[in-house]
């Protein structure tokens, strides 16, 4: 356990020095602030437009950006240390590969989690100012859901990045695979689902369940589940057929963290040095 924390702490410090924490927090903060403050621009107005709309806009932002950030943060986690020679060195140290990978993952998870929290907390403050006092509890609940599920989303893609990194032979290969992963999970699968939805005329009740096969969609469903039903948009119409239990969705997100992480460990333990 002490080993895990030592490794995690070093990774976190690396994250601070590389300005990852600051960079991610500022990026998310500024964009979130923009959405919160000018969210009504799309409907022709200015100013804050209400909690549900803002949360949905913020979730779209999360869904696009956080997977990309997570993948960029960690695509070289293993292959980078391999190329730098430190992996070979550390393999001769008295600790298991699993411990090392988990420690590193914890450090990266802490970097990403803290940055996401800081970024969205800024937006939260702005929203809180624009909301009548009576609805503050609702804002807090909505934002908490958004932040928690965003962090889980980030961690799933972090774990995917580790898996990619454990498999890749070079940093360039890992980088391109990470980009493809982002493209597939965030853009392609979404479009494919829509295409299927249009294509399958009858008996398409199973289709929404496909959404659960994508951590990004799990995230979106979880956020939507926290938003009032009367705000339902086109996306929620599809979502209405799937389980709306927040707990179940949160659990699924956790599975989406653990599954790729498990695969990463398995692959890493057999990686030739």
């Amino acid at each position: 356990m002490r080993l895990l924390l030592t490794i995690a702490h070093k990774e976190f410090r690396d994250g601070l020095r590389h300005r990852w924490v600051l960079g991610i927090a500022v990026l998310l903060g500024v964009l979130a602030l923009g959405i919160a403050a000018f969210g009504a621009a799309a409907s022709g107005g200015t100013g804050f437009t209400g909690l549900s709309t803002t949360l949905i806009s913020l979730s779209t932002l999360s869904m696009l950006l956080i997977p990309l950030i997570a993948l960029m943060l960690a695509y070289d986690a293993i292959v980078g240390e391999d190329e730098g020679g430190t992996l070979l060195l550390l393999a001769t140290y008295p600790m298991s590969r699993r411990t090392w990978l988990l420690g590193k993952f914890m450090g990266h998870a802490w970097v990403l989690g803290l940055a996401t929290l800081c970024g969205f907390a800024v937006a939260g403050v702005v929203i809180a100012f624009a909301t009548p006092e009576a609805a503050l509890a609702e804002v807090a609940a909505g934002l908490t859901t958004l932040i928690v599920s965003s962090v889980l989303l980030g961690w799933s893609f972090l774990a995917l990045a580790y898996w990619i990194s454990a498999r890749a032979g070079s940093k360039q290969a890992a980088a391109s695979q990470a980009l493809i992963t982002w493209f597939v999970f965030v853009l392609v699968l979404d479009l494919a689902l829509l295409a299927l939805l249009v294509g399958v005329r009858q008996g398409g009740a199973w289709l929404p369940w496909l959404m659960l096969a994508n951590p990004a969609e799990c995230f979106r469903l979880l956020v939507l589940s926290a938003v009032e039903p009367h705000q339902a948009s086109a996306i929620t119409a599809l979502a209405s057929a799937t389980p709306r239990s927040s707990l179940l969705l949160a659990l699924l997100q956790v599975v989406w963290v653990l599954l790729p992480l498990g695969l990463a460990i398995r692959r890493f333990e057999h990686r030739a040095l």
Partner: protein, 349 residues
């Protein structure tokens, strides 16, 4: 070679007919070797000869596909316990560490991972001569400094076995000297050291025995004296002011010798080890002699001989040239092994 027959309890490393095939390529073939505790073994060979592969086998990062291997009394690839790895120090050939951490932070981190008190860190930094730069980020360090940091981490926790892969690559002569001094000190403490190198002149004084590898095979193994003897490498005598037909005169006296012209009009003689004293006596007898220098065959010459295709007769004409550039390097880099004989009393017969 007598050392190889000692009993297993004093052996730090035992290779027993170890082969490693990987993807259809034989990386190491039928290597048998015993390294005693407190011995310094030099692993020599070209790139791809199997030096790093042997090290990875000893570290348990690879498993032999044939034969058995024991390191500090354990099978390294099965050694699950922490104690085994705590007693191991390893310096990889290329390690860049973490550019954003300082030297002290890096070494502290590695000490924690190795389960050692961080009090060792400052001491080690001073020992490898990095005390002054310890708090600068590694990104600003030179290659040589990082190499020394690599050595420092290998020394964490007073290892019983040190594996150093090209410990002096990228180091300037002074730093190289310091590394070899450190190795000498460790040897005195009873640490077993295996070091690989293709920079031959420097390692000569440090190593007890040399294992010369070529394409995964053991080409030669033994201490330098016995290897020299076995491969019958000539001694080199260089002199100024000697007559050109000196070799002929020596041959007339029954001393087989070959002569050639070296730089600066110096005459260069190669004589078999057993004839070197007689040859020396004859040479110093000449009146015009200004300067004379005699050198034992260098490790480099040995290395070239061993690497040469088998079946070549030791002492045929091609060897002269290879010995020549070998010893030129030798002369520049290593001054310690020279025996310079100044002709006494300016040529009085």
């Amino acid at each position: 070679m007598t050392r190889a027959t000692t009993c297993a309890t004093t052996s730090a490393i035992v290779f027993d007919d170890v082969s490693l095939k990987h993807g259809g390529v034989t990386r190491l073939s039928h290597l048998s070797l015993e390294v005693n505790r407190g011995e310094v073994l030099g692993l020599l060979g070209h790139n791809g000869a199997g030096k790093t592969t042997s090290m990875k086998l000893m570290l348990g990062l690879l498993s032999p596909t044939q034969g058995s291997l024991s390191v500090l009394g354990q099978r390294p690839d099965r050694a699950g316990d922490r104690a085994f790895r705590q007693h191991l120090g390893y310096l990889p050939e290329n390690v860049r560490f973490y550019p954003n951490l300082s030297g002290r932070e890096t070494l502290t981190y590695l000490a924690r991972l190795k389960g050692r008190p961080t009090a060792e860190v400052d001491e080690l930094l001073v020992q490898v001569g990095l005390g002054g730069a310890a708090d600068r980020r590694l990104a600003t360090w030179s290659k040589g400094m990082r190499q020394r940091l690599g050595l420092a981490q290998a020394l964490l926790g007073e290892p019983r076995l040190l594996l150093l892969d090209e410990p002096t690559s990228g180091l300037d002569p002074a730093a190289t000297e310091a590394v070899y001094a450190t190795i000498g000190m460790l040897k005195a403490r009873g640490v077993t050291v295996v070091l690989s190198s293709h920079l031959l002149p420097g390692v000569e004084p440090v190593i007890d025995r040399a294992l010369i590898l070529g394409e995964g095979k053991c080409l030669a193994l033994g201490d330098l004296a016995s290897l020299r003897e076995r491969f019958a490498l000539p001694y080199v005598i260089e002199m100024r002011g000697a007559p050109q037909d000196l070799a002929l005169r020596l041959i007339r006296e029954g001393i087989p010798a070959r002569s050639s012209l070296a730089d600066g009009g110096r005459l260069r003689l190669e004589v078999a080890p057993e004839h070197r004293m007689n040859a020396l006596r004859l040479c110093t007898a000449f009146q015009g002699l200004k300067d004379l220098e005699i050198r034992p065959p260098s490790l480099e010459a040995l290395y070239r001989r061993v690497q040469a295709p088998s079946g070549r007769d030791p002492g045929n004409g091609n060897e002269g040239s290879s010995e020549s550039d070998a010893s030129d390097r030798y002369q520049v880099i290593d001054e310690s092994d020279h025996t310079t004989v100044s002709p006494s009393a300016e040529d009085t017969p």
